[in-house]
């Protein structure tokens, strides 16, 4: 199978294991994003694929070939670094041509390839300049160009947009997406920014403490997270979590449980589960995304919903959307997204409805109950 495959990958620094038994399969031409908080091992994993870090155990295959013990240059991958890693003493042309010069390719071929890539990346006017004479965005394009010129089997991006300002980051993000469509190569991209992950990826790998939490398309992860970590990490603003307990099994339906929220002790709501049900009195976590909380008239009055009284703290007005930051009586933060309703919330306390069809249920260990 072409693409990149990681099987039972482990990485230890001394006695400390930082990557635990990772299995990922990436198809040819797929854009995969490794996402997770700082220190989750995403960059280490990328560097292991690149051959810049040794693999403690497991197998890495690129294009069907076992490259686990192969040196970096022979793996057929190119990497774009966060710091660009352009050779400061070489011109843009020489930076892009460097790998071909090392491989002793004919001068005509080098010139033709570099100029072609420079044209795609709109760098043809800057080929004689040194990296220090370029803007951040241009430097990033040179770094990408240097990667393309090698015609690798896979592109590896290690937080390539982190050093750019917000506007340029959005612009470069679009350029990378366009480039992927244009050349159709396998791309593996590391970021801690879940917006970047959601907008670029065909498939997202969510990592936490060196363990894969979930692999799926952006919307799969958003709509159907496997655990509380993924639910909280994917989505901006993050999902709201409220603690509750199982009060009893469903009366009418056998696959239903009733949950009573700690924040609303006198009412319980039914939640339908298809899998194993938690035992009565078990602690559970209810999750709901900010856009699914209703503050005005109920969207559908027939819906079961948890009623909550919330104290407003402050509101972020962003124009098309506003985020109301509130606290429950117990002091749990709840963020509400309002899109259509631009009326300012004047009162200190608001009443919010949490429709049960939008609720996610997690056990005390954070695993999803479906």
């Amino acid at each position: 199978m072409s693409g990149v495959t990681l099987r039972n990958i482990k990485k230890a620094f001394g006695t400390v294991e930082v990557i635990h038994d990772v299995n990922i399969s990436i198809s040819q031409g797929e854009f995969v994003v490794f996402v997770g908080p700082s220190g989750c091992g995403k960059s280490t994993l990328l560097r292991m694929i690149a051959g810049l870090e040794e693999t403690t155990s497991g197998v890495i295959e690129i294009d069907g070939t076992d490259v686990t013990c192969m040196e970096a240059a022979k793996r057929g991958v190119s990497m774009v670094f966060q710091s660009y890693a352009l050779y400061p003493h070489l011109s843009v042309f020489d930076n892009m041509a460097f790998s071909l010069q090392i491989a002793s390719r004919p001068k005509d071929e080098i010139k033709q390839k570099v100029e072609e890539v420079a044209r795609i990346l709109q760098l043809d006017q800057h080929l004689d300049r040194k990296p220090s004479q370029l803007s951040g965005g241009q430097r990033q394009r040179v770094a990408i160009g240097r990667a393309i010129v090698r015609q690798p089997k896979a592109f590896l991006f290690d937080e390539p947009l982190s050093n750019l300002d917000a506007e340029l980051r959005v612009q470069m993000r679009m350029e990378i997406a366009r480039l992927h469509n244009q050349i159709g190569a396998t791309m593996i991209y590391v970021t801690h920014d879940q917006v970047e992950a959601m907008t670029l990826a065909d498939k997202i790998v969510v990592l936490k403490s060196g363990t894969v939490q979930q692999i799926g398309s952006p919307l799969e992860l958003y709509d159907n997270p496997d655990n509380q970590f993924v639910a909280g990490f994917i989505g901006s603003p993050r999902m709201n979590f409220l603690e509750g307990k199982v009060v009893q099994g469903g009366n009418d339906a056998p696959d239903e449980v009733r949950i009573e929220l700690v924040e609303a002790p006198n009412s319980s709501v039914p939640v339908t589960l298809s899998g194993p049900k938690p035992v009565p009195e078990a602690t559970v976590i209810l999750g709901i995304r900010p856009e699914n909380i209703e503050t005005g008239n109920p969207v559908s009055a027939e819906d079961d919903a948890v009623e909550l009284s919330l104290k407003t703290e402050f509101t972020e007005e962003l124009g098309g959307v506003s985020y109301v930051h509130t606290l429950t009586e117990g002091g749990v933060r709840v963020t509400i997204e309002r899109r259509s309703d631009r009326n300012h919330i004047a009162q200190d306390h608001i009443s919010a409805r949490l429709p049960t069809r939008h609720l996610f249920l997690f056990d005390a260990n954070g695993m999803r109950l479906r």
């Binding site: 051959g51 970096a72 240059a73 670094f81 003493h89 090392i102 240097r146």
Partner: protein, 274 residues
């Protein structure tokens, strides 16, 4: 216009006196070399009454000065080239390549920095004698090519090159030698130039070792050779000074041209900056 304080004036006067005290022997050597021998011993004038170049003509044509020049230039250039290349490679290995015993090796390099060269001359002389290298360029050069401070300075500079550049070069297909010569060396041309100049000056000025290892006048370097002028021809001050001035000339010219680099190298090797 700022006011000049009396403290500043005092400092200026002191500096000027110090500069004069330092420069006067050099001035005196040049002036003496331009005087006829009779005037040197006859009067103590600060300026030659008659400018006479016969001492220089003597030094050039009646002594082995040209040969000593060739020996000094040849050995100093070779010492500089070898020192720079091996120190750069050693500094690179200590800085960038992970291998068992790396730390210990660095400590050994640091420790060898503490050993004065005078303490080694006897064993080095015995070694060179056993190699049959007395009175050869090889004998002059070999013991001088190990300069730990150059290794340490290179290591410090290579440590400060961003790790990503080396990784990018690796991914671009470079081996260690290519990374060193195509990346680390061009990125450190400044320090390489500075270290080259100071190594050249040190090799040119070295007296003790070439003095010990050369007994034939044909193989002497300038610093050793000038001691032979007085021995052979009695004390002739003008001639001695002419030879001394000519011996010092290349170093003085090199210093004047590369003043900034030399200062930088001295600061680096003495640990003031780096």
């Amino acid at each position: 216009m700022g006011r000049v304080s009396s403290g500043n004036i005092l400092l200026l006067v002191f500096t000027l006196i110090a500069a004069c005290a330092w420069a006067f022997p050099l001035y005196w050597a040049i002036v003496t070399s331009l005087k006829p021998e009779a005037e040197v011993v006859g009067s103590l004038s600060l300026w030659p009454q008659t400018v006479d170049l016969s001492s220089y003509i003597f030094a050039l044509f009646e002594t082995n000065l040209v040969r000593w020049y060739v020996n000094s230039i040849g050995t100093s250039v070779l010492i500089t080239a070898i020192v720079i290349v091996i120190s750069m490679m050693c500094g690179y290995a200590l800085s960038q390549i992970v291998f068992p015993g790396r730390r210990m090796l660095f400590l050994v390099v640091l420790a060898s920095f503490m050993v004065p060269s005078q303490a080694l001359v006897v064993s080095q002389f015995v070694l060179m004698h056993k190699f049959g290298m007395i009175n050869t360029w090889g004998g002059i050069i070999l013991p001088q090519v190990i300069i730990p401070v150059v290794v340490i300075v290179y290591k410090q500079f290579f440590d400060s090159v961003p790790r990503e550049l080396r990784e990018a070069a690796k991914l671009d297909g470079c081996g260690e030698f290519q990374i060193l010569f195509k990346l680390y060396l061009p990125l450190n041309w400044g320090i390489t130039t500075a270290l080259s100049i100071i190594t050249f000056i040190m090799a040119w000025n070295n007296f003790l070792w070439p003095f010990l290892v050369t007994t034939s006048e044909e193989m002497m370097t300038v610093t050793v050779g000038i001691t032979q002028v007085g021995d052979s021809f009695g004390v002739q001050y003008a001639r001695d000074m002419a030879v001394a001035v000519m011996a010092a000339m290349p170093v003085a010219v090199a210093y004047l041209i590369f003043q900034r680099r030399v200062t930088q190298a001295i600061m680096l090797s003495s640990g003031i900056k780096g």
